[in-house]
């Protein structure tokens, strides 16, 4: 049994999502190799080589791979699959973009967003926005899986695997990268943050969202999130969105401010360790999942919270 884990990079650096996916690979068992695809990704590959329990790291580099173009990544992975029984990718936007292509090329199912590895062929995954958990078993020769990183503990460091350069493949063909706008932020990345402060539709405007949510997040060293209602209303950018249609987070502390708690939002944060809700409607569904609820208008409660934090 051999498992290939495809590394997740954030601004060229190895992200923790990779360590968490290695833990899922360990639950499958067998040898674990990591594939790093990117441009100028040698340092990320060196970091991957230090993850405990990894046999070797494969490194493929090109411009198209650096831009994460799905066709280019598929072209690197598919030929490697003769040597592996499973390929696991973190279920980030990037992973979701290319992983199903690999399954289609191998003529096998894609097993999306796995939250538990029962055994080498049996996986648990959320369906219906997390309202149900489906256990599926695959009898196919190759398993192509995306892993929800927040559901797994990060594998430790201490390994010393070798790094091997491999062919960068045929590129993305006619698909061309034109440009990107990546929001640069001093705050921690949303899916990996220890604390997340999220605002909802109650904010009423983008200005209010920035004035209320962001200073509190900065005081706590937290990432900023938002409900889909707040994003749809234009109060917060789409990549802040927490929920089934946005990002799934599971921080130590999740603070929901002016968020009613629609099913689709709960699906994105209900696995947080401690949930705090501040909402002036005491009947809001968010209080059913909150460990600590404060029934209050955020306009009064957030300044009080800021001063109580000192």
């Amino acid at each position: 049994m051999a498992v290939l884990v495809i590394a997740d990079l954030n601004a060229g650096a190895l992200s923790d999502n990779t360590h968490k996916t290695v833990s899922a690979a360990k639950a499958i068992g067998g040898d674990i190799d990591i594939l790093v695809v990117g441009k100028d990704a040698k340092s990320a590959a060196d970091a991957a080589a230090k993850i405990e329990g990894v046999r070797k790291v494969l490194l493929a580099q090109s411009d198209d791979l650096g831009h994460g173009l799905a066709e280019a990544i598929e072209a690197v992975v598919v030929p490697l699959m003769s040597g592996y029984d499973a390929v696991l990718t973190p279920a980030t936007s990037q992973g979701k973009n290319f992983s199903p292509r690999i399954a289609a090329k191998l003529d096998v199912s894609h097993i999306s967003d796995v939250v538990e590895v029962v055994d080498a062929s049996t996986f648990v995954r959320p369906i219906y926005a997390g309202n149900a958990l489906e256990t599926v078993q695959s009898s196919e020769a190759k398993k192509v899986v995306t892993v929800r990183p927040t559901a797994f503990k990060a594998a430790g460091e201490g390994g010393s695997a070798s790094v091997e350069d491999i062919d960068a493949g045929a590129g993305a063909g006619p698909t061309k990268f034109v440009g990107e706008e990546i929001v640069k932020s001093e705050r921690p990345e949303l899916t990996g943050a220890k604390i997340v402060v999220s605002g909802g539709r109650a904010m009423g405007s983008a200005e209010e969202f920035q004035k209320v949510i962001e200073p509190l997040a900065d005081k706590l060293g937290a990432a900023v999130g938002a409900s889909r209602a707040a994003v749809d209303a234009g109060y917060a950018p789409n990549d802040y969105q927490v929920g089934q249609t946005g990002k799934v987070v599971a921080p130590e502390l999740y603070i929901a401010i002016g968020i009613s708690g629609a099913i689709q939002h709960l699906a994105g944060m209900k696995d947080s360790r401690i949930i705090v809700a501040i909402n002036k409607d005491g009947d809001a569904p968010i209080f059913q999942v909150a460990d600590y609820g404060l029934v209050a208008d955020y306009k009064a409660a957030v300044p009080e919270l800021m001063s109580a934090l000192g």
């Binding site: 598929e74 992983s99 199912s109 999306s112 049996t122 369906i127 256990t135 990107e180 609820g293 409660a301």
Partner: protein, 249 residues
């Protein structure tokens, strides 16, 4: 220029799904069903391309039971020109759906496919990517903006941490993300007109594709419930609890 828009009939967005007591699946008996929200966005985008004069024909296709005709009628009422139902009572996995769509595309020869990024029942987010790989057409997933000019598509995509813009020659597979547009509500006159638009039904067996499930569903269970917590009176109480009781500050 022709656009093909695959649509799926799913449990309505506002209905809370209930797991069957025998854990074999989600209970869909007597539950309101609607068009998958991401498919609605795809239909809207295709219709807007037609209204802008970029495309001349919008064809909606669904793979599902006889009742999926209602979903296709919704697409027709939103502005699609005609519809195809590939009829089956089986619940197809994304790979099988992609294979059937590929066969439909080979018959219809569209210049563009616009489809939802995921269905809100299975939450696989896989069919569009698989279809692109099977056809060898460029893939533009999670689109928040689509421009078609001449023989190429320029697509802005939602990626981790921001937006990415890519460009590809037609034909292209585009999968719609939430911010691509806000779908219209079909007006009553358009709902009436849609009843007269052509809707072809084909038996899935006529395609000769193996669509048998590859995965065995062992069980479908309710997720563990979170215990309700406590209410605190003031922000100061809250901070004290977070520091002393929860230990998270």
């Amino acid at each position: 220029m022709k656009v093909l828009v695959p649509v799926k009939r799913v449990i309505d967005y506002n209905v809370k799904p209930r797991v069957k007591s025998d854990e074999t699946g989600v209970d869909l008996a007597n539950v309101k069903m609607s068009m998958n929200p991401f498919c609605e966005i795809a239909v809207e985008e295709a219709v807007r391309l037609k209204e802008k004069g970029v495309v001349t024909e919008v064809v909606a296709v669904s793979i599902g039971p006889a009742q999926a005709q209602e979903t296709l009628r919704t697409a027709l009422a939103m502005g699609a020109d005609r519809a195809i139902l590939v009829q089956t009572d089986a619940d197809l996995e994304p790979l099988a759906v992609a294979k059937v769509l590929k066969a439909v595309i080979n018959e219809e020869s569209p210049n563009l496919v616009v489809m939802g990024k995921q269905a809100i029942d299975g939450d696989n987010n896989a069919t569009g990517q698989m279809l692109s790989a099977l056809l060898g057409w460029p893939q533009a997933s999670f689109a928040s903006k689509l421009e078609v000019s001449g023989d190429k598509a320029t697509v802005t995509r939602e990626v981790d941490g921001g937006l990415q813009t890519i460009e590809a020659p037609l034909p292209v597979i585009v999968t719609a993300d939430l911010r691509l547009n806000e779908p219209r509500y079909a007006s009553l006159p358009n709902i009436m007109k849609a009843k007269k638009k052509p809707l072809d039904t084909k038996d899935i067996a006529s395609f000769g594709i193996d669509t048998a499930p590859r995965l065995k569903v062992i069980k479908v269970a309710e997720p563990p419930k979170r215990g309700g917590g406590i209410k605190v009176e003031t922000a100061a109480d809250l901070v004290a609890k977070l520091k002393n009781e929860a230990g998270v500050l």
